[in-house]
Symmetry: C2
């Protein structure tokens, strides 16, 4: 039984015509002899509309109630899509997250999937039905409805594909694949036919249009993910296991350039230069769920040190107040000068599994930026990525310069 | 543990202000020391909106999918009301029909409640929470969502009150109680402080604003039902067990006058006057779910008979085509003359448990109508009701004449 999981986003389901279009796409996979499980997001901006509605009755809506409320958006789109499929003459059935056996923890608004009981989905497939699953939601052991947070429907789709041992997970969206850089910034950017999980993860974390969570899940369970547009038939990008070494030699070393403008920097000045200070600073941030990215420490001459780190801009205010609390506890002066924030930054990243164990990429990147009169504020690297924190207003220019210098328009 | 179940209809929850108003009403019952279970309908006309949406993707939406779609309307209102309650500082939790343990059969669109597992509702009440239940919906043994059809949320409320052994079920709506006649027709109509289940059932079946289903359920489990407005504090009407004989002697004999304008008559002419014809005619109607009300048979002189009966106007077309099929099978000419329909009729009813075993009410009713130049087309009676089928355009006048003659404005 060949199974494919197809995920359709909100813009692909925004009105009746688009829903009927998606029904036609699903039916053609069915005609090809595949067992199709479709995972859907809520129609258009209906999730935002429900959030707005919640705020008309409460300034801070209860999070359990909000999750149950938001889960209705995907129920609406999944039932409408199923009606459309049946009207086209196909056997189909919609399942809520709960009916599809998607069990989560109890973290409302950002639940994680614990397990999937695929019995019902399999039974419906065995009866020849196309199964349409409401994405973004699950149920706790206590029968309470949860939502999965950002990238939730993609996560549902990849997790279901893993649990069903599907051939692949297809993500249909309003972009038609993964590019060497954002085509809005670099017109000559090239669509990639394939990309490795780790490369995609680095690109996704640093600005490309895919939530890292589903990519991580795909990597963990080795589920190939195909990203393509739901509006046309142009071939998309397959995200899969890194090709082995022999192929790697033939590949261009850099896969893509990513830009992330959701970057804020916090600098804490004149921290005592003693063991445990970094832990005291970052542990409380981790506890309240703030991800810290690049960290740089400069030790001065007077037994104090400056620590700078970046967080996403949406976390800046919360991070700043946490840092103030820590500084007060350490007995350090947390006056106006000692904590400095900057929200005018961006990170530009060069990503490619071909860079592993190959020297010279970092220095080449720094040279390109220097020649473009772009100052580097901070640097961070992984095995397959080099990121530089630069001024936001120079971000797009940096992407263009790097894309040209690494000849990413030249093809694989 | 004194429990009260309060049901709020769609007009009482049509926008944020109205939802907050309902939250205040519920909280004052809570302050009075009662354990409150609130059952809600969907906001305003949102159910119609969802039906309209379904018809944008399918001319005849699949009924299982439609039920799952429609069930979201009550999830939205129940979560919003719960958020409003929590914002006022009360512990509250919303439960879907499924979470509230409401088990139904599999008749999508008009499911009947098989049983209610009250464990979750009771647990939440024991934790001091106001429980807000999404009305109109339940779940089958196969974990599929069903809706209960017309009057569904009232049914949920009365059934929950029965299962929880609540003190009473309070139905808050846009009318403020049960009147001796429709106040729009009879300005001097009087609100009843109380009415018996059987009387209410007859009134509800013949035109008053309450679905008979929940009244039947209240009668079966002896759950007093209080009907009042959600917008003011005027006392409403309590529907409860008939008072015993001693009280009955002191009560006025007629309780109310009902008008039903959803009446159509079908006359089948020259049917063979032989055993089994009536069964052959009415069995197929019952099979397709059409309720037949008044039936009159006139035997002619030529071994044939005319049969007339009434159905609701919404069922007329379906009933007519069923009758044609039967006539064809019987080998009777089903030409243009043999089946005659009339959609210009209404039924006017005099209802009162005091009429039992007391002669003279029927003849008095016929005399009042005759004096008003109102022709009677058909007559039907129960122990506590007399109904006459008359011309629709004389319906309101008939109600006024009967209300005056039986002195219903004079008080109990």
């Amino acid at each position: 039984m060949l199974i494919v999981v197809q995920k359709y986003g909100g813009t692909s389901l925004a009105d009746a015509d688009k829903i009927i279009n998606v029904a036609h796409r699903i039916s053609s996979a069915k005609i090809d002899g595949l067992n199709v499980v479709a995972v859907v997001s809520a129609m258009g901006d209906s999730t935002d509309e429900l959030i707005r509605l919640a705020h008309t009755v409460s300034s801070s809506p209860d999070e359990r109630e909000l999750d149950l409320l938001l889960s209705t958006g995907e129920l609406v789109s999944s039932t409408l899509l199923t009606m459309a499929l049946k009207t086209l003459g196909y056997e189909a059935i919609s399942l809520s997250g709960s009916q599809a056996g998607i069990r989560t923890d109890t973290m409302y608004g950002r639940a994680r999937i614990d397990s999937i009981d695929t019995a019902r989905v399999k039974k419906e497939m065995e009866n020849g039905r196309i199964v349409v699953v409401a994405g973004f939601q699950g149920i706790t052991d206590n029968q309470d409805i949860t939502t999965l947070g950002r990238g939730g429907s993609d996560t549902t789709a990849v997790a279901l594909a893993a649990a069903l041992e599907a051939e692949r997970c297809e993500i249909y969206t309003d972009v038609d694949g993964i590019y060497t850089a954002d085509p809005k910034i670099v017109p000559e950017a090239r669509k990639l036919a394939e990309i490795g999980f780790q490369e995609m993860l680095e690109l996704a974390s640093y600005g490309a249009k895919m939530h890292p969570r589903s990519v991580e899940l795909g990597a963990a369970f080795n589920v190939p993910i195909y990203v393509a547009s739901s509006f046309g038939d142009a071939p998309g990008t397959i995200i899969h296991e890194e090709p082995d070494g022999s192929q790697m030699e033939n590949r261009i070393k850099v896969t893509g350039i990513a830009l992330n403008t959701n970057v804020a920097k916090i600098t804490v000045r004149s921290v005592p230069d003693q063991p445990g200070v970094a832990a005291a600073l970052f542990e409380p941030l981790a506890k309240v769920g703030i991800s810290v990215d690049t960290i740089v420490q400069n030790t001065g001459s007077d037994h104090t040190t400056d620590i700078s780190f970046t967080v996403s801009r949406t976390d800046l205010l919360k991070a700043e107040s946490e840092v103030k609390l820590v500084m007060d506890e350490l007995g350090t002066d947390s006056g106006t000068d000692s904590i400095v924030t900057d929200s005018t930054l961006a990170s530009v990243s060069v990503v490619g599994s071909g860079m592993q164990n190959t020297p010279g990429y970092a220095s080449r990147m720094f040279r390109v930026l220097a020649d473009g009169q772009i100052n580097i504020d901070m640097i961070t690297t992984s095995e397959i990525r080099i990121s530089c924190i630069i001024r936001e207003d120079q971000g797009e220019e940096a992407v263009r310069l790097l894309h040209r210098d690494f000849q990413l328009d030249k093809g694989e």
